[in-house]
Symmetry: C2
Subunit: 428 residues, 2 copies
């Protein structure tokens, strides 16, 4: 008998029928003899609708009140879910973030979890009840106010509960079958992964993949929680996201865990490129530029500095950032043009970022060569390159990114069979 934490998102509980379907799934898990704790999001688009309502009454909604408002969404879905389970003959009890012991700092709208004290949850589990917890919210002990955790908050709630309760697994349900080697809408031959490490998952999520939130994956990694990303519309196995300890344990138990060199390919069309043209090639200019950009609130991703042209004594510096941050960064730089001394600013919002992620990169050479060959053969030009221990990213034309992803996916042997998307090779 295991303790299983399950998380269901908004689309899984969008209406009464869906809620009943999820309730049945939960009841089946309990019937199999497991203890079940469920973190649930608000129904469908409730959170966005409440946000719209807030902006109708106030241009800048007071943060404390906004959290009080938004946390209502999860209260509604958790109570309905508990009711549905009751009507199927099983004891179920719902708890708000505060009642569940989800203690956070006082940052409304983006609260960080500082402690989890699930006393009432353990009592309920001991009494044999199924426990339902409102996702996305917590409680600050100093102000005694409700807080919300920011986007992806319900995933984080689920993982935090799993860690605090020493759960055997944290199942995160969505409307996709698991983590794929690439977005199947961009790369039709993408395969579902059986296993992925949390580091690989972090890189994939940070670079465009959308199934799990970075924050939840990072929390899981730090607290040794195994995540099972699966579909609420099927009983098929999904993708296991293993922290380093879990992985080592499986290897020790003799599981054949082939470590694919490349786990997956991620694409990102949300960035823009800014080029500061003709920067005087003297020490300190890069520091000046990025201080100005940081103050504008922009989140810089990749940076490339060209070699200075000897004749002019000037160089160009390019960087990428979210499209939504570009205007503020450009305004800030333009305001200080005389001070910094650059010649011009270029703004390119037609770029695409392609990333190749794999833990195996650490121990294998030739990974980048394969990438550059594949892109060259496909006639795709590389504009910027950036790497980490287990990731290589390139910037290409936005219109080329899908074709680039497919070419690269094939080059790394990631393609699945045409008829079914099944995983091959990655042992579990």
């Amino acid at each position: 008998m295991a303790l299983i934490v399950q998380k269901y998102g908004g689309s899984s509980v969008a209406d009464a029928e869906s809620i009943k379907r999820v309730a049945k799934r939960i009841v089946d898990t309990r019937r199999a003899g497991h203890d079940v704790v469920v973190a649930v999001s608000a129904m469908g688009d409730t959170t966005d609708e409440l946000l719209d309502l807030a902006h109708e009454v106030a241009p800048i909604p007071a943060p404390r009140e906004l959290d009080m408002l938004l946390s209502s969404g999860e209260r509604i879905s958790m109570a309905l879910l508990a009711m549905a389970i009751h009507s199927m003959g099983f004891e179920a009890r719902s708890f708000t973030g505060s009642q569940a012991g989800m203690i956070t700092d006082a940052t409304h709208g983006a609260a960080r979890i500082v402690d989890v004290t699930p006393v009432r949850l353990r009592e309920a589990l001991d009494e044999g009840a199924i426990v339902i917890v409102a996702g996305f919210q917590g409680f600050n002990r100093d102000t005694r106010d409700i807080t919300t955790l920011g986007r992806g908050g319900s995933d984080t709630t689920a993982v935090a509960l799993a860690a605090a309760l020493s759960a055997d697994v944290c199942e995160i349900y969505s409307d996709v079958d698991g983590i794929f080697t690439a977005d199947p809408r961009v790369v039709p031959k993408a395969r579902k992964l059986g296993v992925v490490t949390s580091e690989e998952m972090l890189e994939l999520a940070a670079n465009g993949a959308k199934v799990l939130y970075i924050r939840a994956v990072e929390y899981a990694r730090r607290h040794g929680v195994t995540i099972h990303a699966r579909s609420s519309f099927s009983s098929a196995e999904g993708t296991l996201v293993l922290g380093p300890d879990a992985r080592a344990e499986r290897l020790a138990q003799g599981e054949h865990m082939e470590e694919p060199i490349v786990a997956g390919v991620a694409t990102d069309l949300s960035q823009a490129k800014v080029t500061v043209v003709g920067v005087p090639d003297v020490p300190g200019k890069a520091a000046e530029i990025f201080t100005i950009v940081a103050k504008s609130g922009a989140n810089v991703d990749m940076i490339v500095q060209n070699v200075s042209a000897a004749a002019t004594g000037r160089t160009d510096i390019s960087f990428t950032l979210p499209k939504s941050d570009a205007a503020a960064a450009l305004r800030a730089l333009a305001a200080d043009q005389a001070e910094v001394g650059f010649e011009a600013l270029l703004h390119d919002d037609q770029i695409g970022k392609l990333s190749v992620v794999g833990a195996g990169m650490r121990s294998h050479s030739g990974v980048s060569a394969t990438l550059f060959d594949a892109l060259s053969s496909a006639g795709i030009n590389i504009e910027m390159i950036s790497t980490s221990e287990i990731r290589i990213s390139v910037v290409v034309r936005g219109s080329d990114v899908a074709a680039a992803a497919r070419a690269v996916h094939t080059a790394y042997g990631l393609d699945g069979d045409d008829e079914a998307v099944v995983y091959a090779g990655s042992g579990r």
Copy 2:
């Protein structure tokens, strides 16, 4: 500077525009120098919509979970109201029933208030903030669960807060200008009352008048809270509902308080009449009958027993009850027909109940004569009569009740001028 408690119902906060309108009203009250505490209901039909949703997922929703669900409605409206006030430049803080110290018993769906400890509200008021409290809900200390107070709960919340905070007045806002001498839709010449005693208000509310809930009026009477029933769509004065102490105080201060003999006329079309025909005229039969009816859950109102017919040794007993209770009562009586020994059961759901209420009845004779004369002149037959210290009720044909109300209203001199509904005579 006064401490004013205000209550706004669902139709007053039905959408963003209404919320902003109510926020402005609250801000104007604060600007005038008063401390303000507001109890608010859920927006529009939210509570009924949540109830419907609950029944979609479970035929008999678990009580604890239903309260968790329904209490979300008030959380949403209170947070939006606080946001709107903030954006008008005033500090406002919203509190759930639990945060406001509204302590109740553990009866989900119909919780009774056992204590009110508004510590956080006082702190907020001391800091100069406007306080918004979620109506309709409370908290049970033993189970640590959220509870809801049942229909009219927000009125009760407001009055309970006013009592606990020793407020100067409890303003209850609705979409009508105050308490009228009769329902203006039934009696077009009805006038708005300037003052009414809480006993009169209780009788009017118990017999069909719908502006205030009995429970809130009773709580106000017991705790010495003055209620001001007014319209959220106008700044006109409404009706003051005075408890005995408040009234005595005004009289002592020399206010000319003409005590109208009849304060108002109430009509009620929600009842049915059941007649148990041919009951053996022996001791104990009435007790048997009403024990059976009580066990069926029916709420009996008026009872009439005819004089026994000497020839038959049998009598008829009639009683009235809510139409929705009739089927259960009839089934229960029919099941025990042999035991009780009656001959037949009659069910009449076409009755109407007319009540005349006035504290002055205690000291004036001839009140009932005026009533019977007026009905006789209007050609309306009286089927049953029942009285209390300050009320006379009659049962007539349902189709006659509106005409009866108008005739009686005129007979007691309650009619207002045709062009405006203003009060005349009742000093304040």
